[in-house]
Symmetry: none
Subunit: 226 residues, 2 copies
DNA sequence: ACGGCATGTCACAGTTTGGTGACACAACCC
DNA sequence: GGGTTGTGTCACCAAACTGTGACATGCCGT
């Protein structure tokens, strides 16, 4: 297992040094700070592999750091909080944290959580989905069919990604309009149909007999692998 | 120690499967092929961490694969050859191989060689990245194109490095604005475009048909080696 | 078979986007 | 001070994209 570059942010000095020591013993490389401001600077400058943030911090708190980090990068984040502060869980997950740990925490447990989050992040980073001949690379925003790159326009790509995010599920037009076009107004239009058609023309061997994007009459469209 | 993605190329099926099995047991992740053509495709598509090439192959031989790989990337290469074929050693090392192993080889020995080469490669590649003709030296903050030094301004260099840090990934303008300019404000700005344009003028042979920095309309830019 | 919908198809014009070169201004160095 | 360099902004233009509506086609219950 690779040694991780961990950023630890915790304002209580005794907790901070204890965790730092424990994590270092477990083979991690740890840098720690007491404030969110310092943490953000460190993240920008040093690009740690994962950040462990106490929720309660003077100044910029952990949730806020998490929120900003998420906007900037997909750096994995674990939030630390005092026991029983239920509200925080919701806020924290909303801010995009990958995991959530209640203090006091056993070093072994924290270590396991760290490794789990890192594993997840690693597998997510090769974010490439394959459906038979069709390969969709979400990082590179590339679609290939039988090895040949297919050019999709931004809207087509967003729609395809939305469909692919829910394989096997039927998505109705209203949902798709909101997700892809963020149209709040209810427009009964051929927009979705037209876009689906354009995608089919590009990725379906025989657009008249679609293999990937299926029409479910009266409901919407369903992406399912052949 | 991180598990390595190894590409093994060996035309003799019994040797191939034996080595693959042994290396897998040692904790490596191995993909193997019988021909140089397949190997080159694999390298382009999957970016293994190291390639182990038999010198004697039908079609494109190991030395030739090595030579082409070297031009493309700094992928570490170990050449395998039958005992006593002295001439090959010279040719192989000239082609840029990192190490040279004589068959038959003890799996433990091969494993040790692999680890040694990877260690060396890791320390060497951390400061310097090669994409075809383009060499980016992060330690010296210098960029050379086909051996000629290119002068980049600080902002241009930061942007290029940021793109290079995520090869193959599409980075959007907002992200780049934050990462390179740490602009927390204004999402709507042509700053990134202008800077990309300036970099292209310096590093792209034909800026109108970029080879390194690709525009992904509606999303952002992607650095990917030619 | 027929009528009524739901969906497919297509062309086009208005809009959006990014490339490009010019330019202003600040910082910096002689 | 005078020139040089780096950087942000702007305007213009070509190309790409997209929504729209009209029409064609297919599906389904009767």
């Amino acid at each position: 297992m690779r040694v991780a570059g961990i950023l630890l942010v915790e304002d209580d000095p005794s907790v901070r040094t204890a965790l730092e020591l424990a994590l270092t013993r477990q083979g991690h490389s740890v840098t720690s700070y007491a404030t969110g401001e310092e943490a953000l600077d460190h993240i920008r400058a040093r690009r740690p592999e994962i950040a462990i943030l106490d929720v309660m911090l003077p100044g910029i708190d952990g949730v806020e750091v998490c929120r900003r980090v998420r906007k900037l990068d997909q750096l994995p984040v674990i939030l630390l909080t005092a026991r029983g502060d239920d509200l925080d869980v919701v806020v924290g997950l909303e801010a995009g944290a990958d995991d959530y740990v209640v203090k006091p925490v056993e070093p072994r447990v924290l270590d396991a959580r760290i490794r789990a989050v890192l594993r997840r992040a690693e597998s997510a980073s090769s974010d490439r989905i394959t459906f038979g001949d069709l390969v969709i690379d979400r990082g590179a925003l590339k679609v290939t069919l039988a090895g040949k790159e297919i050019h999709l326009t931004p809207t087509e790509l967003r729609l395809l990604l939305e469909l692919v995010r829910h394989p096997g599920q039927v998505l109705n037009r209203r949902y798709l309009l909101r997700a892809v076009w963020d149209h709040t107004h209810i427009a009964d239009s051929r927009l979705v149909d037209a876009c689906v058609q354009r995608i089919r023309a590009k990725i379906e061997p025989k657009p008249a007999e679609p293999v990937f994007i299926h029409t479910v009459r009266g409901f919407g469209y369903r992406f399912s692998p052949p």
